[in-house]
Symmetry: C2
Subunit: 381 residues, 2 copies
């Protein structure tokens, strides 16, 4: 490891690409003729291939979960606080696999990829996806890597929902399922925020029903607004109060200075929005939020989560955060209650944290301790 990175960093990592030429049947009834998964791995696979864990990313996430892409890279992967030597997902012990979901815009096959039937980008015609499609696409990656059974499938937010889906679709291919800051389905309020974000994108004249990809255009304003919606809901009221309060960026409340009054929180949101709009694909955002909307763990189990979880064979770790109002602790307790009723082993922890939904990405001591303690059990089982 380079001297440029601290001793708890996995250092420089290099993304890989796995190509799958067999068609993938999708939940929507269409099939993907072929696909690529861009992924990273951290740590070493052991002799009996029993130490592999799969990371499932959230809405705007990707395969780059930990480490750095170059010596100059100053921004580590999105879950660098939790993945690395001595961290909860300890790369001295586990072989960590982290793939960009299909439909994504960070290397795996998605709306910006070429549709072999047309020779043009899929664009808005990319098939609608559900979490189970990601699970199925990743099961083939596990085959490719020689992993019959994951020591754990791990995810936060949408990634946690995907991990739960793994436990139902491939009950014998994971020993532990780790579900952080997630829910069995979105609430009406969650749906409403996603609809707001999508409407912001489709209202942008540059979106052109998703055909912007063919015109070299980017619906940047719409994406920026969508990201603002996300940021507001990822942060708690407390976190925003601590971070920004009513601090002014410049200007004052003196007479006649109205044009210059701008609150810190306003400039933060605008900055985050405009950054995101340069890095994310609008068709992907629509597709991912729809997959989130459609997710309903127990739909195919007569809407009974106890019936659903009765199909699982693994043990569960569920964690939530006190000020998360996007997927509140009550939603995690619903998962735990269903698991208990289904007689599945489950460990639950509710972490006091001011950071809202974003807490799952943060180095909150009690969170890291509880997560580490559970991962030790994963390593021993």
């Amino acid at each position: 490891m380079s001297a440029n990175f601290d001793s708890h960093s996995i250092g420089i990592v290099t993304p890989q690409v796995a190509r799958f030429d067999d068609p993938l049947m999708l939940a929507c009834g269409r099939e993907l003729p072929n696909y690529e998964l861009t992924y990273e791995t951290y740590g070493e696979l052991n002799h009996d291939n029993s130490n592999a864990v799969l990371i499932c990313h959230a809405l705007s996430g990707h395969h780059h979960a930990a480490g750095y892409h170059s010596e100059e890279d100053r921004k580590p992967g999105w879950w660098n606080e939790c993945i690395g030597p001595g961290k909860p997902i300890d790369t001295n012990q586990f072989f960590v696999v982290s793939a960009n979901n299909i439909g994504g815009c960070h290397g795996s096959t998605g709306p910006a990829s070429i549709n072999p039937a047309t020779g043009k980008a899929w664009g808005p015609d990319f098939p609608s996806l559900r979490a189970r499609d990601w699970v199925n696409s990743q099961a083939r990656l596990a085959d490719r890597l020689g992993i019959d059974c994951w020591a754990a499938v791990i995810g936060g937010s949408l990634g946690g929902m995907q991990a739960m889906r793994w436990s139902l679709e491939y009950p014998d291919r994971l020993k532990h399922c780790i579900v952080i800051a997630a829910a069995m389905k979105l609430s009406a309020q969650n749906l409403a925020f996603n609809e707001l974000a999508r409407q912001a994108i489709v209202s942008d004249p540059a979106f052109e029903d998703g055909n912007y990809v063919y015109k070299g255009a980017v619906p940047g304003q719409g994406l920026a607004l969508a990201r603002m919606v996300g940021h507001i809901t990822y942060l708690s009221d407390e976190a925003m109060a601590n971070k920004f309060g009513r601090e002014l960026r410049s200007g004052s409340f003196e007479m006649g200075d109205e044009d210059n009054i701008e609150f810190q929180v306003q400039s933060y949101l605008r900055h985050q929005g405009s950054q995101f709009s340069g890095n994310f694909d609008a068709n992907t955002y629509i597709l991912m939020t729809r997959a989130l909307d459609y997710f309903d763990l127990a739909r195919e189990y007569q809407h009974d989560p106890v019936k659903a979880f009765s199909n699982a064979n693994c043990s569960f770790f569920v964690a939530s955060f006190s000020t998360d109002w996007r997927f509140a602790p009550a939603r995690s307790r619903e998962i735990v209650n269903a698991l208990i009723a289904a007689d599945r082993p489950v460990t639950y922890t509710e972490i006091e944290a001011n950071e809202g939904h974003d807490a799952f990405l943060m180095p909150i001591p009690r969170y890291l301790e509880a997560f580490s303690a559970y991962m030790k059990r994963v390593g021993e089982s």
Copy 2:
């Protein structure tokens, strides 16, 4: 009263217009050379002009607070549940005055009005406003109507903030101040939602920096998005769950039917958004949300609300609603605590209600009872 309306309705009401030709000095340092207030009155002013109450409206409100505009009108004023014969603001007892705020778009002087200096609509050049400007403009209306002292100044949400400002700016011109579902200032999260709504409007290419007024255009998409933001924050998670849950409007989750899946909450938000965009002026929305952002009750009192309220001479009634997360009960308790510390008489009620911020508009029995009980005291004092 017409047989078409029930016995608790005030029946048909007719808006009036008061014109003021003396310039109004504004908090921003500019002055409004003249202005009109569109207002309605309900009930009769008594012999000593002591039974008048002033209604202050919220962000997207207006002067039409109660009754109907015609025999065919099926949609009463926005606070019809609380204003009328036998209702909390009993028109058998009180003379009710309800004015559209300046800067508004429902008849009072605002961005769509003609700027006498240019002969064109003010548009984006309409002066920036603060709640105290509304208070000052309404004090002149009180003069015009012969009302030296309001029996009560009453408002919900932004209207409640305006009512508090009345108590500080004209301490001898009101006996009671009724503050419902309000706060002494916006939180960072509140500011963030307002910024999101404004960004949605200014991102609409039809907005053209507010100059749409000169081009016969309407930034309808932006206004619709802004209204969606509002609706999501006015409703509680519980209210949305009760109203929509995850019900589908049409379509199903069968294979291959993805294009038709639409949740009820999505179509509701889109409908509300598009309705609003036909009825509201974008420059007004920006101006009103900015006034809300700038509002900070104690700014000129060394940021000490106790010092601020020490200037008030009236009694206060403060009400909040359990699931209001826009202006949560904790924000009302801050008001109450400051009033107690300032030795002002205050009655506080926290109403259990599922309806979120919108509860202040709803006929919730305990709310109407508490409001009525307090208004009886107003009538007796």
